[in-house]
């Protein structure tokens, strides 16, 4: 694809670069998919742009990063809510999922990608069925993603699943001009056995890919893992060697002091466990509230995540940022907990760190890939302009996003999707969800 040269000027740049976090009247130059300049517009080098976007009311920021989701669960959005966990899973979610076909997952993922792109989410980690077909949707859309082949020990042919996870991880690496970064995803300690975990840890180490898993999501899970494995989820993962490869752990709601110490162990300048915090999902399923302020005090990397749309029901990191800023203040009874700047970091650069992509994305800096979002502040709820970062966290919403690029390619601009056929995705998902719901009820 021919690369476009794009100038964003003038904009207010919220860079996430600690040396110049907020710049008024800034210019950003994008060339060959990378950011080549971020600085004062009046100092910008000469640049012949194919596309220019700018205006006093536009705020540029790094793309948001969703560190844990099950994208194709858009098919289940609104299918079952406000239920206790067991009947929700056993009577609703699993019977619906039992009918899933590969093309359902393809279209469910397409719709998820459309929603995320227009919300300013430029990168997400995914874990679901039919990962190869889902990866095709990711590649076609131009989004950045960390998809994974799942290993579910309670499903048939676990050795086959592990072999597939290995070959998928090596084959998908670098797909989509380097935007696809596969992971291996053993579902959890309560659905996989010791030999599965050992094989997965070996594979992840050999291939140099991260492990994505669920850990310490509910109190019941912690109790079950203690019974089966004799230790907490985090300490069990540690004893399995899973903390010696990059480990992306979703949820981490129920942790004890030893867990926190183990998680904080350093590895390549990052914590041994990188946490995908899913505040909306943890609330909606009544799992509890993760100790995010404490995780951060201990130096543990934390990014934000939506989980699947059955338990959220949005793929919207704006919502997760606002909820994070509000929820933990109420729980800690301290209004200084997780200030706007910290939460913005979790939604961008912090998420990149969780996925191991912080050298490439997560902030607006020359040399990084151009994953950039423009937010329109010419709206009543974003006035007066006392504090742009406060507005991004406490006042903005996903619909304020007007332009989204990944790797320097425009994916969404002026209300239009440029890479996803969103009308077809909505129609396909509607029809397929109807078929699946009918089958599940039958």
């Amino acid at each position: 694809m021919p690369m476009t040269r794009i100038a964003l000027s003038p904009v207010t740049a919220v860079t996430l670069d600690p040396h110049a976090p907020v710049m008024q009247d800034a210019a950003i130059h994008v060339e060959d998919g990378a950011i080549t300049y971020v600085g004062p517009a009046h100092d910008a080098p000469d640049f012949e742009a194919d596309e220019v976007r700018g205006g006093e009311h536009l705020v540029a920021m790094p793309g948001l990063i969703n560190t844990h989701c099950h994208a194709a669960m858009t098919l289940l959005r609104g299918y079952a809510d406000d239920m206790a966990l067991e009947p929700w899973l056993q009577d609703r979610i699993w019977p619906f999922e039992a009918g899933l076909e590969e093309e359902d997952v393809y279209w469910g993922t397409q719709l998820a990608i459309a929603e995320m792109i227009r919300n300013g989410v430029t990168c997400f980690a995914d874990m679901y069925f039919f990962h190869r077909r889902a990866t095709e949707a990711m590649v076609e859309s131009g989004v950045r993603a960390c998809p994974s082949a799942s290993i579910i020990g309670v499903f048939p042919d676990v050795p086959g699943q592990i072999a597939e996870a290995r070959s998928y991880a090596s084959e998908a690496a670098g797909a989509g001009d380097g935007r696809i970064r596969p992971c291996i995803a053993p579902h959890s300690l309560y659905t996989c056995e010791r030999e599965h975990w050992t094989a997965v840890v070996d594979a992840a180490g050999e291939l140099g890919v991260p492990i994505q898993t669920h850990a310490a999501e509910t109190r019941a899970e912690v109790e079950e893992v203690r019974k089966r494995w004799g230790a907490t989820p985090i300490q069990t993962l540690d004893s399995l060697g899973a903390l010696d490869v990059p480990l992306i752990a979703a949820h981490c709601v129920h942790l004890d002091d030893t867990d926190l110490e183990v998680m904080a162990r350093r590895r390549d300048g990052r914590s041994a466990v990188r946490v995908a915090h899913n505040p909306a999902s943890n609330c909606k399923l009544a799992s509890g509230v993760a100790p995010v302020a404490e995780l951060r005090r201990r130096g543990i990397d934390v990014g934000l995540a939506t989980d699947g749309t059955a338990s959220n029901n949005r793929l919207d990191i704006w919502s997760e940022m606002r909820l994070t800023a509000l929820l933990h203040k109420a729980v800690e009874l301290d209004p200084t907990t997780l200030a706007a700047e910290e939460v913005l970091e979790m939604g961008t650069l912090g998420g990149a760190r969780v996925l191991g992509l912080e050298a490439e994305v997560g902030s607006l800096e020359a040399g990084k890939r151009a994953d950039v979002v423009l937010v329109d502040f010419d709206r009543p709820h974003l006035h007066p302009p006392h504090d742009v970062v406060s507005h991004l966290i406490y006042s903005a919403q996903s619909a304020d996003v007007v332009t989204v690029m990944v790797d320097g390619q425009l994916l969404y601009d002026g209300g239009e999707h440029l890479t996803v056929d969103v009308d077809r995705a909505m129609a396909e998902v509607d029809a397929r969800a109807r078929r699946l719901a009918t089958a599940a009820a039958g």
Copy 2:
């Protein structure tokens, strides 16, 4: 103003009428400011409409109701966040407010009204300085409102304040073709003395207007009230006779069992205390989490509210609905707590009950005033169509609102404000906020 005859057809009607809560392929007729028909489109009577809005993707619902705010605090949006309460008030909020002039409040209120209208909020209760000028903004905009004259015992000339509250309440009643319903607003038990409260309760009783006040917002307030008055805020208000007139109590976070019993006492088919629940503000200021599920179990009326934009920072009942549905599940550790239907009720009809307006607004029923909102479901995050009420609470956001009418008058339609000069309001608020911030810093 000449009244328009409006047909909304075909729409999916989410009526809040328990006899037919959700109707597909519905028609709604609006004439002389009132709803004259809600029912199947194919059974609708002949109707010559001046304006028609309809489409498979449109959901009609009652306008949202904001039961407690300080509208003109839009001037302070983003001015001070993530601070402890005392320095936040003493070093930031109060010095800024000290410079407020009447025209500042007028324009701050205009901007707030614009934001609320486009968010689908058709009615709000207000409590701030310069209430007469603020009321003019409300009347001009066509919105429905319950503004109030405040009594603040720590400010000069309390007898003058009470006299003004009396004359304002009688003069403003019925302004704006009946859309303005004034209240009397003693600020709180910790800023007003016994003689102030006695005079206010007498005035409210005589004039037949509700009292709006803050109660049991923070633990520190409860302790202070116990010291000064010898009882909890709710029990003190009861002993003052404030529960024998309609009492709208904002916050009610910290309540004991006796408080709950006292509040549940019936009066005209409603609870003695009607609660304005401000979940975002209570989180952001770390006040705590109000026991909303328990309030509802006891039959106490609860509506939703934003509070002012210094502690939120939105005037967006969609956010409050979603936060209510999520927060209380996490706190109660029960995913069935406050299901989507219950939360939608709190944002609409429940809010009308809190303000004493449930005979006129809060649901789509023939005979009620036409405060109606259209939501566009032709968006990725509102597919597939498993459950419209789930989508309204868990997936929709304020930007999905496309048409808003109050009393049968279109106020917002297709992205345009029809009664508020929103560009001027943004410019005025920007300039005035800059002046006030400079003065407060000086």
